[in-house]
């Protein structure tokens, strides 16, 4: 019977605990897109996102045994990255680099959404990014944000209505 991606990740993580570099490399290849995209949308610049996503994997390498198995490896990685994003945003308030097509953002819709996201509070932005843009289920997003599914659903409803208002303002 084929193993689920999460089971595969857990096996890889066990090897990472034993300092198996190839296992870490496989984990990087599997999750770098998600992690980088998530960080980029939360902190707003490609350089910061690249640095934070890399740092998350390096922390995983050094402290893989801190994983308690209470969530998926993907969620664990996102939590590490989210903490780092929050630290960074706290240290230097959103510089939110200049947005240009081709620089991280791929199309016009992405550009519009990114601009609007930047006007949301960090917690609202993170919720929207995880669920709507990174395509994680509500359960997975709740795991990362260390909240329950009901509370996250409520947060998403409020965040969506704020986002709509911002986008409507943009159109006017």
């Amino acid at each position: 019977m084929p193993r689920s991606p999460d089971e595969d990740d857990r096996r890889l993580l066990e090897r990472v605990i034993r300092q198996d570099e190839r296992a870490l490399r496989t984990l990087v290849q599997r999750h770098q897109r998600l992690l980088f995209g998530f960080c980029f949308r939360v902190v707003g610049t490609r350089e910061d996102a690249e640095e934070i996503a890399s740092e998350a994997f390096i922390r995983l390498w050094r402290k893989a045994d801190a994983y308690r198995g209470d969530c998926s490896v993907k969620s664990f990685l996102c939590r590490i990255a989210l903490n780092e994003c929050r630290d960074r945003l706290r240290r230097h308030r959103p510089t939110m680099g200049r947005l240009e097509e081709g620089e991280g953002a791929i199309n016009q819709e992405e550009l519009i959404v990114l601009c609007a996201l930047r006007q949301l509070e960090e917690s609202d932005r993170t919720a929207i990014v995880l669920h709507h843009l990174d395509g994680l289920s509500i359960g997975e997003a709740a795991e990362i944000l260390e909240t329950n599914v009901g509370a996250l659903k409520m947060k998403l409803v409020r965040a969506r209505s704020k986002l709509k208002a911002i986008l409507e303002d943009c159109h006017e």
Binding site: G37, E50, I106, N107
Partner: protein, 86 residues
């Protein structure tokens, strides 16, 4: 803007392309050379050795010196032994 329009916009917002993070991560792992690097180093070492061994054995000044030093040393020992006899 209604919910459906918002969903359509969010769906249209593509995933961002990620750079190759491994290049950035690898040097920071503090775990010495990778297997690939070790294999390359061994392969290059073997190649150099093979090329050196296949060179025609012509005049090698180092070897000649070594031989002559060994010869002189032997001769000295023989001379010493002969002297001790008398």
């Amino acid at each position: 803007m209604n919910d459906r329009e918002l969903d359509a916009l969010l769906n249209a917002a593509m995933r961002v392309d990620s750079p190759n993070l491994w290049k950035r991560i690898r040097p920071q792992l503090d775990c010495g050379p990778s297997w690939v690097e070790i294999r390359w180093a061994c392969a290059i070492g073997l190649l150099v050795l093979a090329v050196w061994a296949s060179l025609p054995s012509v005049h090698r000044p180092g070897e000649e010196n070594f031989e002559s030093v060994a010869l002189k040393s032997r001769m000295r020992k023989e001379a010493l032994a002969a002297t001790m006899k008398y």
